[in-house]
Point group: C2
DNA sequence: CTTGCACATGAGAATCGTTATCATATATAT
DNA sequence: ATATATATGATAACGATTCTCATGTGCAAG
């Protein structure tokens, strides 16, 4: 239950927070902006404020429930922190986002950080390219 | 000469552009925000507009003279595109930025993109951690 | 089940980084 | 030197995010 999740991370169980959390869980898109999350909730008849969405997302992130990604174009995307860590590849044409995990790269990153005298705590890796084949925005 | 650089990429040689370009070349910091570049120029007595700095940086990037990085916190950093490609590791304490290049990771990225049906055109990889040893912000 | 209170909410104002507008100034080709 | 297309700087406008504050609500104590 989402209520449990909130309680577990020390957040009061409130209606807006539940709405956001369960929306994220049921949404088709895994990666969305705050604005999008807000719009979709409002469009589906919910009464919620944009400020509340931003606040909740920030708290969820601090609590480790969601992750924030800074993709190109300055847009910030959020996604539920479910399952194992992964990185992203984004189509520069249609915006499609695919996920991947590469053990070798992850290990290499740790080695690099160590060699440079850093204690690695996080990383952001996003590849950009054009998705061939199914890219709906591809030129003929 | 910086004038040559501008001409080579098809940009008119203007005083503001020269100021920005030579400042970037002489600056101690390799990675700076637009705001910082503007401030330092103004503080050193130059007469230049913030809009001009943003415009020039955008043009320089399009021309391949500089690179734009989106580090954590939504801040955008620029750096002269000198020497070979590299990625970054940033200290979450003091903000220090170190550069690195790892052939294995670069190759792997290309393979991953290909496997997922993408034509890789770019990537962003930034590691975050705490710089041990010389970190001026480290706790005692 | 009430009740009290700390905390959360929503509407809108405020702020931040960035881009657009526009009248003026300047670089380059003639 | 002159013409013309382009660049500049001040400022307004903008989109994304955060802040403010009056009101509403979760929840624990009684
Ligand atoms: Zn993801
Ligand atoms: Zn695509
Ligand atoms: Zn660099
Ligand atoms: Zn440090």
């Amino acid at each position: 239950m989402e209520s449990e999740e909130l309680r577990n991370v020390g957040l009061k169980v409130t209606t807006p927070r539940l709405k956001i959390l369960s929306f994220l869980e049921s949404a088709k898109e895994k990666h969305m902006t705050a604005e999008t999350i807000y719009r979709k909730l409002v469009d589906s008849g919910e009464v919620i404020g944009l400020a509340t969405v931003y606040r909740a997302l920030t708290q969820f992130e601090a609590a480790g429930l969601i992750t924030r990604h800074h993709f190109e174009g300055g847009q910030t995307f959020f996604e539920l922190e479910r399952g194992p860590h992964h990185d992203h590849i984004v189509c520069i044409r249609c915006g499609r986002v695919e996920e991947f995990y590469d053990k070798m790269i992850e290990e290499r990153q740790r080695e690099i950080a160590e060699k440079l005298g850093f204690t690695l705590s996080d990383h952001a890796m996003t590849l950009y390219g054009e998705c061939s084949g199914g890219c709906p925005a591809a030129k003929p």
